[in-house]
Symmetry: C2
Subunit: 379 residues, 2 copies
């Protein structure tokens, strides 16, 4: 099967760019002296995770227990679920732990810590928990200096729950685009996470792990003293938003949406493709960056950008192309294919069940599909 045989819209994953991104992050983790615990929330694929870790310890991060199930079944038995757990998922988590999966949950709530402890007692399961600290993003987490941190640690430790460590995520690095600024935020994240762990240890409670996150932080942090692991995820595929932050070049983006041109509207200076709000997502996160990429930038099937061309509007199954220099209608006949680079790859990929993997050689429509890799979506 070749690229030209794929029904559209379809995800296309460039294996060479993927491998380049994966290698770069392994080298970063080595340089920083921390474990790489890649976040599976972006790729949600066992094949991608296998390549991401290569010969390393099979330690992964997940955002859903469905991802945990996927990775556990694929042999990744050391898992951190990095989203505040809710009571109705504790049974499912217990099931994984009972199978021998080393699954750490996350919380930032004393009340939830008590529920975890109580459920663990009831089910006869010893839960492991990361305590989330807020280092400025306010996505979740307690302050590293507050009493709540110690209250949570005690509510867990004194009731048979293992405090595995501290979890931080400086997602506000996403709003930056300067290496110095990102390094500064990453340092605030490091200091906050390490400080929280030290306070818990000082209270006599073991707290072995200090886990930090985010692709920008992982790429621009100067040092991670006291940190044991990092959890980047988007770096695997990269996207236009990460390019805007300065984490990659546009040419590093490994995932694109293959789409087909369905009409030309020369009078309006537009053309349409069969990839719209569902196929691309409505994520507009580049709109505050220096380069606003609309709903995505457009390349030919070789991966070469059509300069100035963007997906300027989406409806559910329609994408409208427009460009500063107009739409190159002759290069884009009806029925021809384009590849749309995603603004925010986690959102774009989420609507698809699989990746069509190409080896990244320059064959355009004629490049062979090497494999289809399955994703796991939903909850």
């Amino acid at each position: 099967m070749k690229l030209r045989d794929l029904p559209t819209p379809h995800l296309v994953l460039d294996r060479r760019k993927l491998d380049r991104n994966l290698t770069r992050m392994r080298e970063r983790a080595d340089a920083l002296g921390v474990r790489l615990r890649p976040h599976g929330k972006t790729a949600k694929s066992a094949e991608v995770m296998t390549r991401a870790l290569k010969d390393r310890r099979k330690a992964v991060t997940v955002s859903t227990l469905k991802e945990a199930r996927l990775f556990a079944d694929a042999g990744f038995r050391d898992i951190v679920h990095a989203v505040g757990i809710t009571p109705n998922r504790l049974h499912e988590a217990a099931g994984l732990i009972a199978e021998g999966v080393d699954l750490a949950l996350t919380t930032d709530s004393v009340a939830m810590a008590r529920i975890i402890a109580e459920t663990g007692r009831t089910l006869g399961v010893r839960y492991m928990v990361m305590i989330e600290v807020d280092v400025g993003e306010h996505r979740g987490g307690v302050t590293p200096e507050g009493e709540e941190l110690l209250d949570i640690a005690r509510a867990l430790h004194e009731n048979g729950v293992e405090v595995r460590g501290i979890l931080a995520h400086a997602g506000h690095t996403y709003a930056l685009s300067d290496a110095e600024d990102i390094a500064r935020v990453a340092e605030v994240e490091r200091v906050g996470a390490v400080r929280a762990a030290e306070r818990i240890r000082a209270a006599g409670i073991p707290c072995p792990e200090v886990s930090v996150g985010s692709t920008p932080g992982a790429l621009f942090a100067r040092a991670l003293d006291g940190v044991t692991e990092m959890r980047p995820g988007v770096y695997m595929f990269m996207d236009l938003f990460q390019a805007g932050v300065g984490c990659c070049e546009i040419d590093d983006i490994a995932l694109s949406v293959l789409a087909t041109v369905s009409n030309h509207r020369p009078a309006q200076g537009t053309a349409h493709i069969d990839a719209g709000a569902l196929a691309l997502s409505k994520d507009r996160s580049t709109h505050l960056q220096t380069r606003d990429c609309g709903f995505g930038l457009v390349t030919d099937t070789y991966g070469a950008l059509f300069q100035g061309l963007v997906v300027e509007a989406v409806h559910q199954e329609h994408g409208r192309l427009a460009g500063i220099g107009g739409v190159p209608f002759e290069a884009l006949p009806i029925g021809s294919r384009v590849r749309v680079l995603p603004n925010h790859v986690c959102m774009t990929a989420a609507m698809y069940e699989r990746y069509a993997v190409v080896d990244g050689t320059e064959l355009g429509d004629e490049q062979p599909i090497e494999a289809f890799w399955e994703r796991v979506n939903g909850w």
Copy 2:
């Protein structure tokens, strides 16, 4: 199984509100004297479509051929695929037609019309095609008065393809909120679609159907003389955006996302739920309306709104609640459930595989789940 037993996030569909919305639109179609051909793009569910049509002709609209397959297998054999078709989907369409499905495709391109004709000849299939006209939205379509319309009709008709009719979609009604304005746009849509059909007929080419769309247009059109059918879809569930347009009351919204409170951040005046960008979508379409609903409004499990409370921010799996009067922490303990009303229900529902159906009685967490209805996603 009861609501309290559902893992979160989960779609919850209120059957009474659904049925009320469905009845209302059947009555509208009767009053306007047109066939109701509901659009399956929102619900993507055979059970919902069965209720939508009740005892009517089993005529449906779809946005993907995957939906066409779903509905065809469920006995809905009269199908309009209302998105500009691309060459790589013609084989799949031919397969459905060969099974006896009365499947009409859509195009607005002379070049595509020629490809359809040529493929039909090659495969020995007689395709049926709706020609899309642009009545002002510029999503797709040719102008009703232009030469291209007749060129497409001839390219089809003279090459063995049946011109089934004219298809219009006045999606720009979505930007309005006044019944008079919507009625005016619906009238422009009607006039354009009828005029296009008359021009094709005057050229000696049969063009039996005149099909118009959109929930606002269907609800506010004064008359649809010359129109044969309408294709609303969102009306089944409704959403905050449609409420903002004036198509429904907030209490008519039949679909919500059940979510669980995972923390309280009193110092920041926020709480978090386990429904974020994937569970709710990042659609912000209410932000230009009179009432900006953030990423969704919040009700208790009985469906009663927490006044002033919105999902003010989302991350991939986190939703952050905040409100004008603050978060009612006492009413929302850790582990308690809320229902989030969606901004744009087509986008929100798209991430889920099924609906949990409740009968809408006022039992909160104790209401029984009557059924799970499957959705079909992707392409």
